[in-house]
Symmetry: C2
Subunit: 382 residues, 2 copies
Amino acid sequence: MFRMLAKASVTLGSRAAGWVRTMGSYQLLVPPPEALSKPLSVPTRLLLGPGPSNLAPRVLAAGSLRMIGHMQKEMLQIMEEIKQGIQYVFQTRNPLTLVVSGSGHCAMETALFNLLEPGDSFLIGTNGIWGMRAAEIADRIGARVHQMIKKPGEHYTLQEVEEGLAQHKPVLLFLVHGESSTGVVQPLDGFGELCHRYQCLLLVDSVASLGGVPIYMDQQGIDIMYSSSQKVLNAPPGISLISFNDKAKYKVYSRKTKPVSFYTDITYLAKLWGCEGETRVIHHTTPVTSLYCLRESLALIAEQEIRLPTITTVTVPAGYNWRDIVSYVLDHFSIEISGGLGPTEEKVLRIGLLGYNATTENVDRVAKALREALQHCPKNKL
Amino acid sequence: MFRMLAKASVTLGSRAAGWVRTMGSYQLLVPPPEALSKPLSVPTRLLLGPGPSNLAPRVLAAGSLRMIGHMQKEMLQIMEEIKQGIQYVFQTRNPLTLVVSGSGHCAMETALFNLLEPGDSFLIGTNGIWGMRAAEIADRIGARVHQMIKKPGEHYTLQEVEEGLAQHKPVLLFLVHGESSTGVVQPLDGFGELCHRYQCLLLVDSVASLGGVPIYMDQQGIDIMYSSSQKVLNAPPGISLISFNDKAKYKVYSRKTKPVSFYTDITYLAKLWGCEGETRVIHHTTPVTSLYCLRESLALIAEQEIRLPTITTVTVPAGYNWRDIVSYVLDHFSIEISGGLGPTEEKVLRIGLLGYNATTENVDRVAKALREALQHCPKNKL
Ligand SMILES: Cc1ncc(COP(=O)(O)O)c(C=O)c1O
Ligand SMILES: Cc1ncc(COP(=O)(O)O)c(C=O)c1O
């Protein structure tokens, strides 16, 4: 009744050999690894590093919900709910709001790959590692990169940015809202308006701040914003949130060159995520389970949980090695905290109080652990 | 005792405002979405489309294991086990074997972004959508793309490929092992050797075949291979497996230009995944939960489960509309199967029997459903 499509060739499914059997002259030269015969177990940890954070029970439960097809109507409904959830946490009405199927870095690339064309002037506030990272990415795709470099711990004023805009005439400005390598919040008031006076779009990284520090994408005139699943949202790492307003969309859709990546091409993602009317176009297989979890974490936020700010950065006390402190806290208290990153490497400890983890009890636990660590870790006389 | 790093600026964590409160002159203009107040529920479906497939119970359970830090030693151990599992299912001893934090498309981009430089000659076997996709990606990064175009359902002989190699002198040949849009298995014997005689590397896409059709990366002379989590491996979609042999690694490491993507830059991923000695370098936040699930799915394979071939493609019987059949089977049997893709759109049905789903019982269920569908779906008199 049904006829196999392929005639001359071997079809997938027409051959009943289990793959582990040898075929022709080939042999199983690589044996099954011993380590995989042991059960998987992971320790209980209080994750007070800069992410990932512990998952709320409801988010955790979503991780073992049964699989469904990524283009089935139930999944499209979940995607719709996620979009609305992002619009809420971003405080935006942008229709072009969706999930990128990769970590925060992938969202950063999605923004830059789609917004910048070779030769475009790109202005970056570099006051920690994330500006450096944006520069590295933009450089690879041939943008003209201009970094306003500041010391770790510093932030940008309107006047400083205006000088950069006047000098470099960028099409795009990148600012990090929560600089997780230095622990600094960049104030955002007035920057959107300022950029627009200079015909420049404002791109904000809110990976480490979203949900922990107030941000109002539309009201603050942010043209493009992205964030990630594993920080205050308390969802598993691996996917990211992104939104483009109409002006940003216009820049993307009027490009002369295709962006370098098909995987993160917004014109396709928009059709996959139903941001352009009802029809959905298959693009790649979306991470169904990760989306279940994100949906639940957005639902928790929509239920108006009050959430605390995110990453506290403290300098390592003189005479101590940060590694000793981090290890002590891990070994004796099962608490993960983290050292510095990029410009703050060796210099600071980073303590995350992310969403579900942001409780007074956890603050007390980590404070006690740190106190004890300072008593027991080796200290060099200076 | 600890001193805040940032002085003049506002630090993350120094501000105790819940993010949902209004700040300054801003207001919550976008209300919490109504849809998120309903509980998340997903239907029970037998997923016999071309992926994702149902998850084995052990894989499902791993999805709600507690979170740990992505650079903690327990996680590094899990990553090590995953690497060994991939080496086993790929039948390779390549040290440069790791997981890409994105779907199959992301792995395809990882391979092409790292292997090709602008101007490189790239030969593609295009006998379905996946060759077209490889062409699209390579084109965006400025490779010289040569497609050997064949009809859907056809495959390549050694002689045909040799003509292409002689004519185009490519640095890389792309073949799809399991062409999931047409249902064809590409035989691979001898292609590695042939490519090497022409100083060309062989890249194989085994997304839809791995675990269902025998493949022996090292013995078959495949230089680069990738696959994905959501097909025969029965893990959630969203991550992919990739391996480079030494020759392929040499090509990547002796590039004159940086690959366009930082997120998928193999020189960084190799350091993150411990493929270059013991030291691990932070790169991006890996998808911890997805890795738990993949680890369990690899463990199931290492336990020598016999798995059946993967995707069967059948032509839609004359007079029927494929959409009617797919809907009937979904609505009356809760079974997901799928229509064609790319060149086979409107023409075929694709039935996946992926790993855990590959049971005689499921074959009977889908056969019964199809039989009934043909009785009840409208048929045009021709
Ligand atoms: C501010 C900021 N931006 C971007 C990233 C990158 O995110 P990911 O590690 O998920 O790729 C991070 C991660 O820590 C971050 O804190
Ligand atoms: C042969 C083949 N290659 C690549 C892909 C792309 O994988 P993904 O959809 O996970 O991006 C698929 C997906 O169906 C496939 O079947």
